[in-house]
Amino acid sequence: MALMDAVLELADDHLVLGHRLSEWCGHAPMLEEDLALPNMALDLIGTARTLYDYAAKLEGQGRSEDDIAYLRGEREYRNCLLVERPNEDFAHTVLRQFFFAAFMHPYWHAAQDSDDEVIRGVAGKAVKEMAYHIRHAGEWVIRLGDGTEESAQRMRDAVEALSIYTAELFEEGAAEGAPALPSRAAQREAWDATIAHVFAEAQLEMPEVPFPQTGGRKGLHGEGLGHMLAEMQSVYRAHPGATW
């Protein structure tokens, strides 16, 4: 069951962040971003779907990917706190994306050597998509951080607000007992290097975080996730078993 729990954590990270990004659809500051954010959301939700489907198979109880995504409450979600943070402004959104992709890229890179065929397949696809997300979000972090007075201030505010959630990315969670998945802690060095590289160009500094926020892997979430799930799950809960 360790593998199933670990796959669920991964799937929840991707679905929750994908859903957050999808909230921008039709509201982005410019057309390019109105295409980019839902495109990135699609990558994440696509990955989540494959992982939920796999988790359902591992569980073997006849649940579907939809049942797992739509019929679990907030306390049963195992995503890390970073991905559920609300969109706030565009600076928060691109920084959250950059922090997450900078972690997932080396993670999926390592997962390409997994002895699990499904994980290898997901990783082979996702590693390239995450490289795109790092690049796209990273360019925005630089443009805003090294931009106008206001954009720089908003980016600094985003760094202040989101940096406290980054330590949780490296907690092993359920994967500790699942050798098919890479160690999360082992991705720290690569993540630090990506952040340092982009932050130097963006004139940003990563603050010291004396009290990191964690708890997502145990189902302890911020208030926002419940609201997000209520909206995301409302149709399926009103029409159980609906397909579209």
């Binding site: 994908g18 057309l31 390019e32 295409l35 980019a36 495109n39 959301a41 699609l42 990558d43 994440l44 939700i45 696509g46 990955t47 779907r49 494959t50 065929e117 499904v118 290898r120 397949g121 997901v122 990783a123 082979g124 696809k125 996702a126 390239k128 998509e129 490289a131 795109y132 690049r135 796209h136």
Partner: protein
């Protein structure tokens, strides 16, 4: 004799499935794109193996259904198997597929997939209209998940570029 019949069936099933156009880029077929990995006979059932292009490609389901319909119209019982590993790459687009994309107005991927240059956006893309290498990226993301938008700075033609992944 039985083996021969099976071979002939498999070849006919391949032909039927391979001719299915991509729903989003209809100038190329699923075989041109390399997403139809093979068709095998399992008894009387034609089993088409399909690899999705992108994790969240909304066309995946439409492609699988179109292949199944094509096989049934050709007289086969059909089943689709989704193959995730190895993951699809733009390297699998055939030479013929690349030619068709060019003729359709979409610049085919120029770098081998996984190239660091391609991932970090340092690819040089050739203008479809005048052949100039002086082109600029307009948008990382285009009308579908697989495309970016470019413009030629020599002749000013805007065009789609099939991203290297």
């Amino acid at each position: 004799m039985v083996a021969e019949v099976a071979d002939i069936c498999a070849a006919r099933a391949w032909e039927a499935a391979a001719a299915v156009p991509d729903p989003e880029v209809p100038c190329v077929t699923v075989a041109d794109l390399g997403i139809l990995r093979g068709v095998e006979m399992d008894g009387d059932v034609a089993v088409a193996k399909v690899t999705p292009t992108y994790s969240g490609c909304p066309a995946t389901l439409a492609i699988e259904m179109a292949i199944e319909v094509a096989l049934r119209e050709a007289g086969f019982d059909a089943r689709i198997e989704r193959v995730l590993s190895p993951a699809w790459t733009t390297d699998w687009i055939t030479e013929e597929g690349r030619e068709k994309l060019r003729a359709y107005g979409i610049a085919p991927p120029e770098e081998p997939s996984g190239s660091v240059r391609a991932l970090f956006g340092e690819t040089t893309v050739t203008c479809l209209r005048c052949g100039s290498r002086e082109t600029e990226k307009l948008s990382e993301f285009g009308s579908t998940a697989c495309k970016a938008q470019y413009r030629c700075t020599a002749c000013l033609e805007p065009f789609d570029y099939f991203k290297c992944l």
